[in-house]
């Protein structure tokens, strides 16, 4: 009889506790349980389980292989980003939010910057080219996010090939991000007032190459999973969440669309000029895990369609400004991507250090103190690859945010895990969680 180290001071200890130290493997546990004739088993899945997409903890109560109760536990990756942002200036906020949902960083930056721009009252004054670059980066990011979502699901099924394929294409997109922003991830590229820096000189060529690469290799993804009998066996009819449940639990994004509702904020409340792009909203009608993958697979191509339109528009707007005209807000001053990443351009350094005292003062003030934002509050929501990503920003008129709250879709969607999994098998839990595509950096913030 083992000592129950999980029981509280006033709790009755469980009569049998399995730990990694005292039992060999699952077979031994199953044998012992069978002898005990007690089918109820409480399993602690995570927070270090490889199939939980980071540090998600699931507490499962099982009757044999059937899950009777499931409780998700989050907070293991809580980094206090929202609190930290209250202590840094408005422009620095971009570098904080990008670290929330690190698989879709550009969406976090975009939604935060759009909220700040609404407070500043400059929403309509963002240069056209800045908006095109934002759309381009977001759609490429949507593709890379969906590739990770599908790829890691394959990995959790034991199909490493799917993951390798997804990550290979994603790496090509990240290479493009690196060429543009200087960084593969955590770009801090979208800033209040526009974007940090224009595309590099050969940026359009690189973009065309990337589009050609994706067109050639992305079909592999659908070939690997779409009609795969194992993939279908694990996902069809699993983790069903119909439209009623989606509505009640505030579920948005691919999960809502897989239930048959063609809702997309890019169409319903367009931003960054999405109303001028030609694309379709993809839906499926089965409301299960398989449907969510079909929606994601279809969205890969819709996003690529938008990327192509962006490439043409970028060609037409070459040389136009990418930042708001007021130099105080489009801070910090001129950036460039050098061999060691993003930094001040040599011309700018030369200007402020050798030519103009006023420019040096301006640079110093913009970088250290930052700009002020008129008091008030704003909530901006955009369609991230996972659903509605919202940002609530409050200003008290100072140079730092008074309060920033990010409504991460993953945080909201993890609430639906019990609904999708209870009554199913333990193996279905893995698929249901994977089909939500939660990224714990965003969930816990």
């Amino acid at each position: 009889m083992s000592y129950d180290l999980f029981a509280g001071a006033n709790e009755k200890p469980a009569d049998r506790v399995y730990t990694p130290m005292d039992s060999g493997d699952w077979d031994a546990i199953a044998r012992e349980q069978a002898q005990r004739a007690d089918e109820t088993l409480v399993i602690n899945m995570g927070p270090q389980h490889p199939a939980t997409h980071g540090v998600l903890r699931l507490i499962l109560e099982c009757d044999g292989e059937t899950v009777t109760s499931i409780r998700p536990g989050i907070g293991f990756l809580h980094t206090g980003i929202e609190k930290n942002m209250e202590f840094r200036n408005w422009a620095q906020g971009s570098a904080f939010v990008t670290r929330m949902d690190y698989v879709a960083p550009l969406f976090n930056e975009a939604v935060y910057c759009m909220a700040v721009e609404r407070l500043l009252g400059i929403e309509d004054k963002i240069p056209e080219r800045a908006n095109i670059i934002r759309v381009l980066m977001m759609e490429l990011n949507r593709i890379s996010n969906h590739l990770v979502a599908i790829g890691t699901t394959g990995n959790e099924l034991g199909a490493t090939t799917v993951m390798m394929s997804g990550f290979r294409e994603r790496e090509m997109i990240l290479d493009f991000f690196e060429a543009v922003s200087g960084l593969r991830m955590n770009h801090a590229y979208i800033r209040p007032g526009g974007v940090a820096v224009d595309l590099p000189e050969n940026g359009l060529t690189q973009l065309r190459d990337l589009i050609a690469w994706l067109e050639k290799y992305m079909p592999e993804m659908s070939l690997l999973v779409q009609e795969n009998p194992i993939f279908k066996g694990r996902t069809v009819g699993v983790g069903v969440q119909d439209l009623t449940a989606c509505m009640a639990l505030g579920v948005t994004g691919p999960i809502l669309r897989s239930a048959g509702y063609a809702f997309d904020l890019r169409k319903a409340q367009p931003y960054c000029g999405y109303e001028t792009y030609d694309f379709d909203v993809c839906t499926w009608d089965t409301a299960d895990c398989y449907g969510r993958y079909r929606v994601r697979l279809a969205e890969l191509w819709e996003s690529l369609k938008i990327v192509k339109q962006c490439a043409d528009r970028l060609e037409a707007t070459t040389g136009q400004p990418v930042r708001y005209e007021d130099a105080k807000i489009s801070s910090p001053a001129d950036l460039t991507v050098g061999p060691d990443g993003q930094g001040n351009s040599n011309e700018h350094i030369k200007h402020i250090m050798g030519e103009s005292m006023e420019a040096l003062i301006h640079h110093f003030k913009t970088v250290t103190e930052g700009f002020t934002v008129p008091a008030g509050q704003a909530y901006v929501a955009i369609e991230s690859p996972k659903g509605e990503l919202g940002c609530h920003v409050v200003s008290d008129g100072g140079t730092r945010p008074f309060r920033v709250h990010v409504r991460d879709p993953g945080f909201n969607h993890l609430q639906s895990v019990p609904l999708m999994c209870e009554g199913g098998m333990i193996s279905d839990v893995i698929m249901a969680v994977a089909s939500i595509d939660p990224v714990m950096g965003g969930v816990d913030r």
Partner: protein, 225 residues
Amino acid sequence: MTEQSTTDVAVTGSAPAAPKRQGMWTDGVPDVSGYGGLLRAVEQPLGEPLPSGDWQEAIGGRLVALVPDAIARVVWDRGELTWFVPREKLVEAMANLRDDAHLRFELCASISGVHYPTDAGAEFHVVYHLYSYTHNRRVRVEVTCSDADPHVPSVVATYPAADWHERETWDMFGVIFDGHPHLTRILMPDDWVGHPQRKEYPLGGIPVEYKGAVVPPPDQRRDYR
């Protein structure tokens, strides 16, 4: 169906008390930039008049017709509609906001708190962001409570999705949501003391030792405020 405004929305009440800001650095430390001497009082905007004859006015009137005195103050600012709802009316107002055909706010997208330490008697604002799929509209519902009595009724019965959002608001601000099925901490550890996103809670309040170097406690640091 046509929308009719049966009652005019009363625009009463006042803005939160103005917070004062002095300098960029901790009080008492001379700030070499000279900025430290400035004292500014900033008020939250009272907003502009509602666009007349549009939905912003109509849905407010509809809610007040269904739930009398549901809206204490209306703010129309930067194209966003905010209703201040007294907490006694919150549950009833939310149920009607979701179910009434003219309102139909099916999605409670986000619930979060804001701490205004200078807003005496209403230090905590709980902010609900609602969205209507049917009518493609957004509205912000704001409820206030005081530091001494930080209670707000839970809306989980109306919006099940509010569950975790309310838990997070409790965790971060200490606002108690009466009627919540299990109001426990969600992001911080279960045995954590304090509510980190309150304004008086310091950033980095935990002593950290790293390779022998100790980070001083917040009150002994020259740091950002």
